[in-house]
């Protein structure tokens, strides 16, 4: 599998470390009533066949955290965007 790092160009998957689901958003509330949201954030994951956005670090390269979208059925990589840039967009 090849991943097009926005900083380093297309590089082999061995240079990257996968973390997991990039669609979950860390809750901001610290109220006990928000516990369900936190449980979902920490533990609940979809396991889709098809497109999946994951946090991936270019650990053997520029070390940037990326959001890589790939098809879990075909392993085709659709995009790789810096997580920083992703978060900046609302």
């Amino acid at each position: 599998m090849l991943i097009p790092c926005p900083h380093c160009g297309t590089r082999p998957v061995e240079e990257f470390t996968f973390l997991g689901d990039a669609t979950v958003i860390r809750p901001t509330s610290l109220e006990p009533s928000s516990m369900d949201d936190w449980m979902d954030y920490v533990y609940l994951r979809d396991n889709p066949r098809g497109n999946y956005a994951e946090y991936v670090q270019h650990s053997g390269g520029c070390r940037a955290w990326l959001v890589v979208t790939r098809n879990t059925g075909t392993h085709e990589v659709h995009s790789a965007v810096a997580a920083k840039a992703m978060k900046a967009k609302p």
Binding site: M1, V13, P27, W38, K84
Partner: protein, 959 residues
């Protein structure tokens, strides 16, 4: 013993005689031979015994699919099991042994299995050897392995080297027969970067052995001209002896190049094999098709061979399988064998064609063919049988990513699935059975742009097949899978017993397993299974195709990363000094850490105990450079650390250090360490040695993915600084002698100070007054290159105070004496509360892990928390791993109260001490528990106590 060398012809060099040994007997062959062709030419057909019935077996094929002629190649450390004699290139001095026989190939004791074969049906192992269960491991399996087992590996280290390499190309052509050559030439002429790979020792594929005519010349002459042209082009890489064994994501192909398997010993500085990763913009599969055996009685007697293999041996190697041959076929292609062999002067006893209702029922003969008997009652004497059950395109690679091949009725074979333009099949690999189609398909596949060049002229041989799967009239055993000894009857049996799904039938009958993965037998098996199940072949489908196409040695996967080169060795900046001091090193991750510093005659415990005593009495110096160090800067550095740590760092005074605790988002403790504030916007974090890289990555994630709006930068400086702990009552006096122009006292350097200083007349250094040992202590960091020199200076300065170097063992003893938690307690299950650090968790801010740490189960009073433990019998040794039980309870999971995490011999208290995790432990100090150490058969009483065993009031820290 009927094979012989034909007087003329072939692509062998008859002037080059090569001597070799098979099962200890000497033979001679020629340059260009394979081991199999040389054995056939020497009249040897018996090359192995079968796996289950130990039946005599000879060579079936002339290539990678060979299921029978598996040999142990070479001797001693270079011995390699399960190599296929059909692809082993002959060299002078080659030695090979047959497999699966005892005591010898000719007289195999276990052939008795064959007589008892009525019980050796499919599923036999599962049915017979299941009860009682314990017998399987201890008796049945070792026995079966000894009786059956394929070759044995050399137990010596492999003396040869292996390499890994990458290649990139516009077009990867897999296979160098007529289609592959045309694709490569067409693409190369248009300027594309082309790699042409072929598993064979010579390029040319079927043109090396089939009698063809292309552009008015022979197939092999035509091939040679194309190969010469390709070899002269700078944009072409020719890779003979290279098997493309797998297709992976991103159009990446795995390849194995047998660089020096064709010589006895690789030349100096050359690898035996090279593991390739080929990134191809486009690839074409031109791997050809595999001829199928027919399924009839005695189709495994040595001398029964694939029809194409028989003419391959005769035409390419000048090796005749026999003097009189019967041909048995269901298709047109076997006619070639009859014609070619006749041209070599070999008698054709009979051509039996199922399309004309001809059937061979049984082959007579044990170790070689004597005759064949036909369904019509006739018999023919012959010494070899050529069989052809049709052709199966070699679709494997195109199915490696999950797609299934498609059944084609016309050619009675599975053809490759459509995988788009990045990887296409051409020629007979795509089911095209005419030479002109192969040439045309190759040219089309190699045309990147513009007009398609013309196709060379050739003569086509019409192909027609009428499927025929199994001669049911046979009385002898009719084999489907030679390597696993699966017979035609096993498949209907599997279906009757409920294992009719193709994947289940594979496991139940073992058809299609082992080193050849059913390359020859699978389609026959599927057809017979489909018939038994009343399904079409298309409905039955195939089993899953997975890499590797053919076996790849572990050496090739490992490449150069073996032994010393398996992983990098990290040495600290103080390594040289540690060596001078006589350190014994221990591997900690990649790091080499100084473990203890023995004097003459000391063992590790004596040495470490002496180091502890000297440090606690006077002063000791320890290399702590392996701790992770992360430099963190920026306007928001403090706020950022407040998010990362559960305690607060934005309020830390400049010039001070603070102990910090990090949680994971699930509330469990992640890491700890001391972090200092060097300036308003500048912090220096330290992490544990083990978690340094993980913490760095965590920080990067938290900033980039969670809080990118924060103005903060960070970089690992672990390797930039040499760091030393100077501990003990004389540490201040020792340091005083090397610092520049200031007096060390509680005003200038109070506990937890962190400051930039200079030492030894102007050298940069950072001084921290922190302590892991519990003593009055400092840590001094200097630029890495100065480390050894500064350590020597400190030793000199401390000489008058009796300074000693101390290692990780002494450090560990001192931290257990002091009840400081480390790896044994920060084990991925403990919360801050479990460690007695619950009060560190701020309630005034958000931090990683805050919410999850408040969950009911995370604050439960019954949780196991850190306590001290010591044996009631103070002379007794305790060991970590022992479980804690209430005194009157029996050992069980339900009664488990906790376990011992860390132990040490305390030279200060003269006894063994430990730290343990114990349910509701803080309320149980003074209680006596039972320690159950089932692993070592060791049970004793332990007393629970405060984790701080030594100097409980921390008086020494501030002394």
């Amino acid at each position: 013993m009927s094979g012989f060398r034909i007087a003329r012809g072939g692509l062998i060099d008859r002037s080059a005689n090569l001597n070799f040994k098979f099962d200890g007997k000497s033979f001679t062959g020629h340059q260009g031979d394979t081991l199999a062709s040389a054995l056939i030419a020497n009249g040897v057909h018996l090359m192995g015994r079968s796996f289950k019935y130990h039946r005599p077996r000879g060579v079936i094929s002339a290539g990678a699919s060979e299921p029978n002629a598996l040999v142990e190649l070479r001797e001693g450390a270079r011995r390699e099991a399960n190599t296929r004699a059909t692809i082993v290139e002959l060299y002078d001095g080659l030695t090979a042994q047959s497999q699966n026989r005892w005591p010898s190939l000719e007289n195999d004791f276990l052939a008795i299995n064959s007589l008892a074969s009525s019980i050796f049906v499919a599923g036999f192992y599962y049915k017979t050897f299941m009860w009682p269960k314990s017998f399987w491991e201890k008796i049945y399996e070792p026995l079966i392995r000894k009786a059956a087992g394929l070759g044995t590996a050399s137990k010596e280290a492999d003396p040869d080297t292996y390499e890994k390499a990458y290649a990139h190309c516009d077009l990867l052509v897999i296979g160098s027969g007529p289609s592959g050559l045309m694709a490569a030439r067409t693409a190369a002429r248009s300027g594309a970067r082309v790699i042409l790979a072929d598993e064979g020792s010579a390029l040319g594929g079927s043109l090396l052995f089939e009698n063809e005519e292309i552009d008015g010349t022979t197939g092999s002459t035509f091939a040679q001209a194309v190969i010469s042209e390709l070899a002269s082009m700078p944009n072409v890489t020719l890779m003979p002896r290279t098997t493309i064994f797998g297709w992976f994501d991103g159009n990446i192909f795995g390849g194995l190049e047998r660089v020096n398997d064709h010589v006895a010993v690789p030349p100096p500085f050359e690898p035996r094999q090279r593991y390739w990763r080929v990134h191809a913009k486009r690839a074409v599969l031109a791997a050809g098709a595999e001829e199928r055996p027919l399924v009839f009685g005695g189709n495994d007697v040595p001398g029964v061979m694939l029809a194409s293999a028989m003419r391959h041996y005769a035409n390419r190697y000048g090796a005749a399988a026999g003097k009189s041959i019967s041909v048995f076929t269901n298709n047109a292609s076997a006619q070639r064998t009859a014609v070619d062999l006749q041209a070599h002067g070999i008698n054709i006893a009979a051509v039996v064609d199922t399309r004309k209702n001809g059937k061979i029922i049984n082959v007579k003969g044990g170790k070689s063919v004597k005759s064949v008997s036909l369904a019509d009652g006739s018999h023919f004497e012959c010494d070899a049988v050529a069989m052809s059950g049709g052709w199966s395109p070699i679709v494997n690679l195109m199915c490696h990513r999950g797609a299934k091949p498609i059944w084609n009725e016309t050619i009675a074979a599975f053809t490759p699935p459509d995988m788009g333009s990045q990887f296409t099949a051409i020629g007979s690999a795509s089911g095209k059975m005419l030479l002109s189609e192969c040439l045309r398909g190759g040219i089309a596949a190699g045309t990147f742009k513009g007009k398609t060049p013309p196709t060379p002229k050739c003569r086509d041989e019409a192909f027609a097949i009428q499927p025929f799967w199994w001669v049911k009239e046979s009385t002898g055993k009719a084999f489907i899978d030679y390597q696993n000894d699966a017979t035609a009857k096993d498949l209907p049996l599997a279906n009757r017993e409920g294992y009719g799904h193709v994947e289940l039938a594979k496991r139940y009958t073992t058809t299609g397993m082992a080193t050849d993965q059913g390359k020859l037998g699978n389609v026959n098996a599927i057809a017979i299974l489909a018939e038994a199940a009343g399904k079409s072949i298309s409905e039955m489908g195939t089993t899953t195709f997975r890499p590797m196409y053919t076996p790849v040695s572990f050496g090739a996967f490992a490449g150069p990363f073996t032994g010393h080169h398996f992983q990098p060795v990290r040495k600290t900046p103080l390594h040289e000094w540690c060596v001078e001091q006589g350190a014994v090193f221990v591997e900690t991750g990649l790091w080499m850490r100084s473990s203890w510093f023995p004097k003459a005659g000391e063992d590790w415990l004596t040495s470490a105990s002496r180091e502890v005593k000297a440090t606690r009495a006077n002063v000791g110096l320890c290399d702590v450079s392996t701790l992770g160090k992360i430099d963190i800067q920026g306007k928001d550095a403090g706020t950022f650390l407040d998010k990362i740590y559960c305690n607060t760092f934005s309020t830390l005074s400049i010039g001070k250090a603070r102990y910090g605790l990090m949680l994971r988002e699930d509330g469990v403790v992640f890491d700890d360490g001391t972090t200092s504030r060097l300036a308003d916007d500048h912090y220096l974090m330290t992490t544990t040695t083990a978690n340094a890289a993980r913490v760095m990555s965590h920080i990067e994630f938290c900033h980039q993915a969670l809080w990118p709006e924060m103005d903060v930068q960070y970089v690992s400086v672990t390797e930039q600084w040499a760091q030393m702990a100077i501990a003990g009552p004389k540490s201040r006096a020792t340091l005083q002698k090397i610092v520049d122009s200031f007096t060390l006292n509680d005003e200038t350097t109070p506990y937890l100070v962190a400051k930039d200083i200079t030492i030894l007349g102007g050298l940069t250094a950072r001084l921290f007054r922190i302590s892991f040992s519990g003593e009055h202590a400092y840590e001094l960091a200097v630029p890495a290159d100065h480390g050894n020199m500064v350590a020597r200076a400190i030793m000199q300065a401390g000489q008058e105070f009796g300074i000693v170097p101390y290692g990780v063992e002494a450090l560990s003893i001192m931290r257990i004496e002091k009840g400081h938690v480390a790896g044994g307690e920060l084990n991925g299950t403990t919360t801050a509360g479990d460690l007695g650090l619950g009060k560190m968790m701020s309630t005034k801010k958000d931090f990683i892990g805050r919410m999850m740490a408040t969950r009911e189960g995370m604050v439960d009073a019954a949780r196991q928390c850190v306590v001290g433990i010591k044996p009631v019998d103070k002379t007794m040794k305790i060991r970590s791993g022992g479980h804690l039980l209430n005194q009157n309870d029996k050992p069980s999971m339900a009664n488990d109260q906790g376990y011992i995490c860390s132990v040490a011999w305390s030279p200060m208290l003269n006894m063994w001490l430990g730290l343990a995790l114990l349910s509701n432990g803080r309320a149980r100090h003074g209680e006596v528990v039972k320690v159950f150490d089932g692993l070592r058969g060791h049970h004793y009483l332990g007393e629970i106590c405060d984790p701080v065993h030594f100097d409980p009031k921390n008086e020494r820290l501030h002394a």
